[in-house]
C-alpha cells in the first residue's frame, strides 16, 4: 500500500496551511469544516476497504498447496449484502445533515431574490479583467477592497463569457454569468491580503485573470471609498 505511505509525506511537505483549509472568513471556515468532516468520514470507507482488500488478497492467494483447490460455490450472503447497503446509507445520512444546512446557507442566489444586508460590491468580469464598483460609485480594476467583519455581498455579472469568482481563503467559487446577476455572501472576513482568480476557463487570458482581495478595517475602508 505504497500510496498510503505517500500520504503523510505529502502532507508534511505542504505543511498544514493549505490555502482552502486555512480560512480567513466564516464562509470559508464552514467550507473547510465540511471538507475535513467529509474527508474523515470517507477515510473510514477507505480503511475498511483497504483492510478487507489486503487481508483477502494475502490470505486467499494462489500457493503451491492450494493449486488444485476448488473453492466452495458461494452464491452470496443476504445478511452481508444488507449490511453494505445499510452501512453506507447511515454514513451518508451523517454527511447529508451538515451538507444540507450549509448548502441552504451558502448557495449563491439571483440578485432579485437576495434578502441579505451588508456591504455591497458590484463585481463585473470581462475577458480578462475584474472591475469592482463600491456603493458610492468608487471603481477599481483587479483590486477588491472590503471591510473586515460583517457581511459582504458581491453582486456578480459578466460582460461576455462565463467567469468564476474565487478567493480561496475567503470562500468558494461563484460563477459570473452573462445573463444573470448572482449574489454571493462572504461573512466576517479577516484583515489581510489574499489572491483571487478566475476559476472558469474563459479563453486566451484565463490563466492571468487574477486580482487582489484586500480586507481592511472599517475606518480604512471608509477612507478608501473617499480617496480619489
Amino acid at each position: 500500500m505504497k500510496r498510503l505511505l505517500v500520504m503523510p509525506f505529502l502532507l508534511l511537505l505542504t505543511g498544514c496551511n493549505i490555502k482552502v483549509l486555512d480560512s480567513r472568513s466564516d464562509t470559508a471556515n464552514d467550507q473547510a469544516f465540511l471538507i475535513i468532516y467529509s474527508f474523515s468520514l470517507m477515510l473510514i470507507v477507505v480503511l475498511v476497504v483497504s483492510i478487507l482488500f489486503i487481508r483477502f488478497v494475502f490470505k486467499y492467494r494462489y500457493t503451491e498447496e492450494r493449486k488444485d483447490n476448488i473453492p466452495p460455490d458461494v452464491k452470496g450472503n443476504k445478511w452481508l449484502e444488507t449490511a453494505w447497503v445499510i452501512g453506507p446509507l447511515l454514513l451518508l445520512a451523517i454527511l447529508a445533515v451538515p451538507t444540507i444546512m450549509m448548502t441552504y446557507d451558502q448557495s449563491p442566489v439571483l440578485s432579485t431574490e437576495s434578502e441579505q444586508e451588508g456591504t455591497s460590491v458590484q463585481v463585473t468580469a470581462e475577458q480578462f479583467n475584474w472591475t469592482f464598483e463600491h456603493a458610492n460609485g468608487k471603481t477599481e480594476q483587479n483590486r477588491l477592497v472590503i471591510p473586515e467583519g460583517g457581511t459582504i455581498l458581491l453582486h456578480l455579472k459578466s460582460e461576455d463569457v462565463i467567469h468564476s469568482f474565487w478567493v480561496p481563503r475567503l470562500g468558494g467559487k461563484v460563477d459570473v454569468m452573462p445573463d444573470r446577476e448572482l449574489v454571493y455572501e462572504i461573512k466576517n472576513p479577516q484583515i489581510g491580503t489574499y489572491e483571487g482568480k478566475c476559476a472558469e476557463y474563459c479563453g486566451l487570458g484565463h490563466t492571468n485573470m487574477k486580482f487582489e482581495a484586500e480586507v481592511v478595517s472599517a475606518d480604512e475602508y471608509a477612507s478608501y471609498l473617499n480617496e480619489k
Binding site: K2, R3, V6, L10, T14, G15, N17, K19, V20, A28, D30, I35, S38, M42, V45, V46, S50, L52, F53, F56, V57, Y62, N69, P71, P72, V74, K75, G76, L80, W84, V85, P88, L95, A96, T99, T103, Y104, D105, S107, P108, D160, V161, W166, P168, G172, K173, V174, D175, M177, P178, D179, E195, C198, A199, E200, Y201, C202, L204, H206, T207
Partner: protein
C-alpha cells in the same frame, strides 16, 4: 515558421510542423511495410468486413493509436506545468488551451469509447452464444462513422485550427462571437459524426443481447460483462441523443446565427444542462463496462462465481438510473439555488451506495477463492483501492457547499482521473490482456505485463495524488502556469514525473505486443481456465462460431461442465443467424458525412450538398439489397 506554397503564404507553428513531419515519416514507414509484406489485401479485407471480431479489432487499434496521441498531449501539459512560471516550447496561452481541449475530448470520445466498444463488439457475442451482432452491416457503419468523426476532429490540428473551448465546450465561449475560427466546428462535427456511430452500435448491442442469446442463456445467467454492456447501451442511447441535440443547436448558433445559447432569447445555462445530461451518464458509460470486465476477471482468477450476482446486476441498473439524476452537481456554482443544489447533492451521494455494494461484492468474490496473480487480475486488483480513492473524493465533491471550494480546481482533476483511469483504463487493460488470446490466438507475455502494470499504477498515483493538494492550494484547472507558493512547485513536479512514468509503462505494453507477435505462444481455446462461453470457442474466434450451438444450464455453465469432466449439451435448434456481408458501403457512408461536415465548416456548401446527395444514393442502394433473402428466402 512561414513559407509559401502555390502562391499562398502559410504560417505554421513549430508544433504543427513537427506533427506534419512525424506523421508523414510514420505514414511512409507504414506504407513501405504494407507494400513490402504485400498486405494491401488485408487492409481491403478489414475495410469491407462486417464481422464483429474484425470490427472490434479496428475499434481497439484506433483507440490505442489515439491513446498515444492524447497521451502525448498529457505529457505536453505536464511538461509545461513541471516548474512554476515555466515556458515549454509553444504551450502557453492559446496552444495550452488547445492541448487540454484535445487531450480531454480525445481521451473520452476517441480512446475510452472505441476501446470499450471494441471489447464489447468482440466479446459480447461470444459470451452470450451469438454468432455475430444482430445487424452486422450497421455495426460496420457504426465503426466507420466513429473513424471518420475522429479523423475529422484530428485534421484540425494539422490545419492549425485546433478547438480551444475545453472538452466541455461551454457556451458562450464556444459560440461564434468568442471563437470565430473553425476549431469549434471541428469539435462539433467530429463528435456529432462519431456520436451517431456510437448510437448505432448501442442499438445493435441491445438487439443482439435481447434476441441472440444461446438456448438456455436466460438474462439471469448472462456474464456480468454482457449485463453491463446491455445497460451501458441503454445509457448511450439516451445520453448520446442528448449530446447530438446539444451539438446540433450549437451548430445552428455558430453557422446560421441562431441564438440558443446566447443573446436575449437564449441562455448559456441551456448548454450546461444539455451537456451534463449527456456528460454525467457518459461517466457511467465509461465505468460500467469496466465493472463488467472486472467482475468476469475477478471471478475467473479467484476460481469462484461472482458473489451476489442478482445484487450486482441490480446495482449496475441502479447506477445507470441514478446516473441521469445527478447532472447538476457539475453546476453547483452556477446559481441554480439552494433547493437544486441540495437535491443534486443528495442524489449524487446515493450513487455511492450501489457502487459500494459492487466493491464489497468484488472483495467477497475473492474471499475463500484461489487468487492467481495474472496480468488481467493485477489490473483488477489495482483497480479496487484506486477506484475507492476516486469514489470517496466523489462523495466529498457531492457536498455542495464544500464543492464551492473544490469546483474547477486540480482537486476535481485528481478526482475524475482517479475514477476514470482506475475504472475505465485499468478495466480496458485488464480486458485486453484477458481476451487477447481470444482476439489473436496468442497470450501476452506475463513478465512484461507485470512491468506494464506496476509502472502504470505507480505513475498514475504519483501523477494524480498530489493534485488533490494543489487543488486545495488554490490551483484552478486549465491554467498554464502558477507561482511558487505553498509547495505547488514540488507537488507539480511530482505529477510530471508520474505522468512520464505512465508514458514509459505504455512502452512496455507496445514491446509486449511486438514480442508476442514475434515469438508468441499459441494457445488453445481456454488459456485462463475460464468460466464463460467465450472460452469454449477456438482462439482466435473463427468467423463462424457456436456450431453446434451449446445449451446453457446456469451461470458459468461452461466452467461447471468442465469441472464435472463433461461437455456442454448441444442443439441444432437455433435462431436465424445474422449474416456477414462484404461491403464497402459502410466506409463510403462514413466518408460522405466527413465531406458533408467539411463543407459546412468552411462554407463550401456545394460540397455539402454533393455529399448529402451521394449519402442519400448510398442509403437507397443499401435498402434495395437484403442479403438474408439469398439465405433464408423472402419474408412472407
Amino acid at each position: 515558421m512561414k513559407f509559401t506554397l502555390f502562391g499562398v503564404n502559410i504560417m505554421l507553428p513549430s508544433d504543427v510542423l513537427a506533427a506534419w513531419v512525424f506523421t508523414l515519416l510514420l505514414g511512409a514507414v507504414v506504407v513501405f511495410l504494407v507494400l513490402k509484406k504485400k498486405r494491401l489485401g488485408l487492409i481491403w479485407e478489414y475495410m469491407v468486413t462486417t464481422n464483429h471480431r474484425k470490427i472490434g479489432i479496428l475499434y481497439i487499434l484506433f483507440g490505442i493509436i489515439y491513446f498515444f496521441r492524447a497521451g502525448l498531449d498529457a505529457l505536453f501539459i505536464r511538461t509545461q506545468l513541471a516548474f512554476p512560471n515555466n515556458d515549454f516550447w509553444v504551450f502557453q496561452g492559446e496552444k495550452y488551451n488547445e492541448v487540454f481541449t484535445t487531450h480531454g475530448t480525445m481521451m473520452i470520445f476517441f480512446v475510452a469509447m472505441p476501446l470499450l466498444l471494441g471489447l464489447m463488439n468482440t466479446v459480447v457475442p461470444l459470451q452470450i452464444g451469438a454468432r455475430d451482432l444482430a445487424f452486422p452491416f450497421l455495426n460496420a457503419v457504426g465503426f466507420w462513422l466513429f473513424f471518420f468523426g475522429s479523423i475529422f476532429f484530428n485534421i484540425s490540428f494539422f490545419l492549425n485550427m485546433t478547438p480551444e473551448i475545453g472538452w466541455t465546450g461551454y457556451a458562450p465561449l464556444s459560440t461564434e462571437q468568442f471563437t470565430p475560427g473553425a476549431g469549434s466546428d471541428f469539435y462539433i462535427f467530429g463528435l456529432q459524426i462519431s456520436g451517431l456511430g456510437t448510437i448505432f452500435t448501442a442499438l445493435n448491442l441491445i438487439v443482439t443481447i435481447v434476441r441472440h442469446r444461446a438456448p438456455g442463456m436466460k438474462m439471469t445467467r448472462m456474464p456480468l460483462f454482457a449485463w453491463t454492456s446491455l445497460i451501458t447501451s441503454f445509457l448511450i442511447l439516451i445520453a448520446f441523443t442528448v449530446l447530438a441535440i446539444a451539438l446540433y443547436l450549437l451548430m445552428f448558433d455558430r453557422l446560421f446565427g441562431a441564438g440558443f445559447f446566447s443573446g436575449t432569447e437564449g441562455n448559456p445555462i441551456y448548454w450546461q444542462h444539455l451537456f451534463w445530461i449527456f456528460g454525467h451518464p457518459e461517466v457511467y458509460i465509461l465505468a460500467l463496462p469496466a465493472f463488467g470486465i472486472f467482475s468476469d476477471v475477478i471471478s475467473t482468477f479467484s476460481r469462484k462465481r461472482v458473489f451476489g450476482y442478482p445484487i450486482m446486476v441490480l446495482s449496475v441498473a441502479l447506477i445507470g438510473f441514478l446516473g441521469f439524476m445527478v447532472w447538476a452537481h457539475h453546476m453547483f456554482t452556477v446559481g441554480l439555488g439552494p433547493m437544486a443544489n441540495t437535491f443534486f447533492a443528495i442524489t449524487t451521494m446515493l450513487i455511492a451506495v450501489p457502487t459500494g455494494i459492487k466493491v464489497f461484492n468484488w472483495l467477497f468474490t475473492m474471499r475463500l477463492g484461489v487468487i492467481r496473480f495474472t496480468t488481467p487480475m493485477l489490473f483488477s486488483l489495482g483497480f479496487i483501492p484506486s477506484f475507492v480513492m476516486g469514489g470517496v473524493t466523489g462523495v466529498m465533491l457531492s457536498v455542495s457547499a464544500a464543492d464551492f471550494q473544490f469546483h474547477d480546481t486540480h482537486f476535481v482533476v485528481a478526482h475524475f482521473h482517479y475514477v476514470i483511469i482506475a475504472s475505465t483504463i485499468l478495466g480496458i487493460f485488464a480486458g485486453l490482456y484477458y481476451w487477447y488470446p481470444k482476439i489473436t490466438g496468442y497470450v501476452l507475455d506475463e513478465k512484461l505485463g507485470r512491468w506494464h502494470f506496476w509502472t502504470f499504477l505507480i505513475g498514475f498515483h504519483l501523477t494524480f495524488f498530489p493534485m488533490h493538494i494543489t487543488g486545495l492550494e488554490g490551483m484552478p484547472r486549465r491554467v498554464y502556469t502558477y507561482d511558487d507558493s505553498g509547495g505547488l512547485a514540488e507537488l507539480n513536479f511530482m505529477s510530471t514525473i508520474g505522468a512520464f512514468l505512465m508514458g514509459v509503462s505504455m512502452l512496455f505494453a507496445i514491446w509486449n505486443v511486438y514480442k508476442t507477435y514475434k515469438e508468441g505462444r499459441k494457445v488453445g481455446n481456454d488459456p485462463w481456465d475460464g468460466r464463460t462461453l467465450e472460452w469454449s470457442v477456438a482462439s482466435p474466434a473463427p468467423e463462424h462460431t457456436f456450431d453446434p450451438m451449446p445449451v446453457v444450464e446456469g451461470i458459468d455453465s461452461f466452467w461447471f461442465a468442465k469441472s464435472a469432466g463433461k461437455k456442454m449439451p448441444v442443439t441444432d435448434q437455433v435462431r436465424a443467424t445474422p449474416l456477414e456481408v462484404q461491403s464497402i458501403l459502410p466506409f463510403l457512408i462514413g466518408s460522405t458525412l466527413f465531406f458533408l461536415s467539411l463543407g459546412l465548416t468552411f462554407s463550401w456548401y456545394w460540397l455539402s450538398i454533393l455529399s448529402a446527395f451521394i449519402l442519400f444514393t448510398l442509403l437507397v442502394v443499401r435498402s434495395l439489397k437484403d442479403e438474408r433473402e439469398d439465405h433464408y428466402g423472402r419474408r412472407k
